[in-house]
Symmetry: C2
Subunit: 214 residues, 2 copies
């Protein structure tokens, strides 16, 4: 059957997964891949066809696992259980110790900030925004606006997370009304202020009302 392969293909795929996770799709060069796999370019092309085909293999393996998580979540007896299990499970994946932080699929588009001053800077700017929100919430804590045991850090991060998620959705093609109805749900996590002065309230907006709490 010809000359036997001198490297383990599954190990090579794992190596590639790690690289894509850390450096993104375009950020991972063939030199990176073949170097880490300790094979030469022709061996790479013989085994995988090209970079994109390997990437698709990697992502498909990843999504198989993600789908397992999703299916398992969907089997929860309550829809809240579905949400809970999926989000916590996903968070575990994002912070798993055996790979770079974040989602492989999203990181592949959003290359790592490591060794990249531009991206590190962008991440900093994002962080700054969260800081400002946190300070505002911390100041409000203990007043009628926010109970004393609220967590400004968690609240600020929640707003930021929602914002980044909206940005991803928008880029994928979500329309304004989609985003608005999503925000309407997101705001249900928020405490209504106890009778703020009505004339100073934020610009009233018509918004979809999911009415989850009957």
């Amino acid at each position: 059957m010809g000359r036997p392969r001198e490297f383990d293909i599954d190990t090579a795929i794992k190596t590639a997964t790690e690289l894509f996770w850390r450096k993104g799709y375009e950020g991972t060069s063939l030199t990176d891949l073949t170097g880490a796999m300790r094979i030469t370019a022709p061996s790479f092309y013989f085994a995988f066809g090209n970079k994109e085909k390997l990437f698709r293999i990697v992502i498909e393996q990843y999504y198989e696992k993600q789908l397992e998580l999703l299916e398992s979540a969907l089997r929860e007896p309550t829809v809240r259980g579905v949400a809970e299990k999926f989000l916590y499970g996903y968070a575990d994946v994002l912070t798993g110790p055996s790979h770079a932080p974040g989602c492989l699929a999203l990181n592949s588009s959003l290359p790592s900030a490591e060794d990249d001053t531009v991206r590190a800077w962008l991440a900093d700017l994002r962080g700054e925004l969260t800081v400002r929100l946190r300070k505002r919430f911390a100041k409000a804590r203990g007043t009628v606006e926010l109970p004393m045991d609220a967590e400004p850090d968690a609240l600020a991060r929640y707003i930021a997370v929602t914002a980044w998620g909206l940005a991803v959705e928008a880029q994928s093609g979500a329309k304004r009304k989609d985003l608005h109805s999503t925000i309407a749900v997101a705001l249900m996590a928020w405490p209504s202020a106890d009778v703020p002065r009505p004339e100073q309230r934020s610009t009233s907006r018509k918004r979809a009302s999911p009415r989850l709490r009957q």
Copy 2:
């Protein structure tokens, strides 16, 4: 004072902004930039120094506007008003008609899917996940799990948005406990089921409890 510049520099920056928004930072080549600006490479380098410096100008202009939105939101009399104003304002930016969809700063890392089969495929995979959630929620609607007037579409998108946002946060360095406390807040938007069978509930997790609703 020497030879006058033959192109308008503000117009050129606007052109660059549009390109970065649509194609991302690395996805926008100097050929793209100089071509759209209708200037040659030396003119570009004379005017802007290099690609990164131009990008920083563009992003700084963008963040100035974002900060205006944020400051304006922070001046809201209630913290809920802050969240509301900021999120809706951001959504407006994301879907603004004068530029590519999404956030300029995030898109710069997450290059556009247009003319890119790999990224289009990744966006599709993300969409599929939302579809599955929606179907599950739609099926639950009208049962004890979910009231009849709930919106499966908005709920599913909310979970997805939260997930993508978590992914961005995780890549920027957020720790697992940060994500968990964020999720705890996110789940406050969710209706608790009316007494599900306890033995079938999802794996109980200790989680930070912001206790927003006293």
